[in-house]
């Protein structure tokens, strides 16, 4: 088998396990998030807003590497669940600011129990190994995010 052919085997791909791991970990979030009635991408948006309320769509997009094509309908769903409000900015009418509602803010305390639940799935890993791994994945994101 040539080297090229070898690189084409599924087991020799770096990308496939990343793709699989990403989906599996989103799967792990499904059950705890079901109690909150939101999906994983919606949870990511809520986390960002719990850190800093009132961000514009593009600012959320920059943090999550998502564009308005994904975010606009997702935010409309969060709004229909009364977790956020979408408010046209007065300073710059192009922008839509995303503001947490009371319900949206209240959800944070429930959400705080989720990370520990996810870490349980990973309790066979040494904490240090996990921290190192996280930093490697972050490095990969930075590498891939270079223009």
């Amino acid at each position: 088998m040539t080297k090229e052919q070898d690189l084409l085997l599924l087991e020799n791909q770096i990308c496939f396990p990343l793709y699989a791991a990403s989906r599996m970990i989103i799967q792990a979030y499904r059950e705890p998030l079901e109690e909150l009635g939101i999906t994983y991408p919606q949870y990511l948006v809520m986390m960002i807003l719990w850190e800093k309320d009132g961000l514009a769509v593009n600012e959320i997009g920059k943090r999550l590497f998502l564009d308005s094509g994904t975010l606009t309908p997702l935010l409309k769903r969060l709004e229909s669940h009364n977790l956020i409000k979408r408010v046209r900015s007065e300073d710059d009418e192009r922008k839509v600011e995303i503001q947490l509602t009371f319900q949206g803010k209240s959800m944070k305390s429930k959400a705080e129990k989720i990370p520990a639940k996810i870490l349980e799935c990973l309790n066979s890993w040494e904490p240090e190994t996990l921290v190192n791994f996280k930093s490697e994945v972050n490095k990969l994101v930075k590498t891939l995010n270079q223009p």
Copy 2:
């Protein structure tokens, strides 16, 4: 800030960078795959078939951790592009065997150039670091795949 609150910050998540990296790397495949006229999940299926032709839908699903809800329409698209045939098995009429067409087989030689192109995006990484990282991600997949 409590430990719980700290764990809820986006930058302290392990899952988010995995999710981002997965999408970014699929993005990196987009251009080279466009020349073949297929998407990344379709490419994964083709890779499996180049390794072993004639697999049933569920066997492909086991390898990719995907179910028929995802695979059936994806395979129909590959069929409509004349890359595969979907053939009801004679031994077991529940099964649909996926067979490469001549065109599907021919695509392999073009596809063999893709892994090197993807590795180019990662040329700032030491080969050894990359190999270690891959093995870590594979370990993670195994951990998360435990029932």
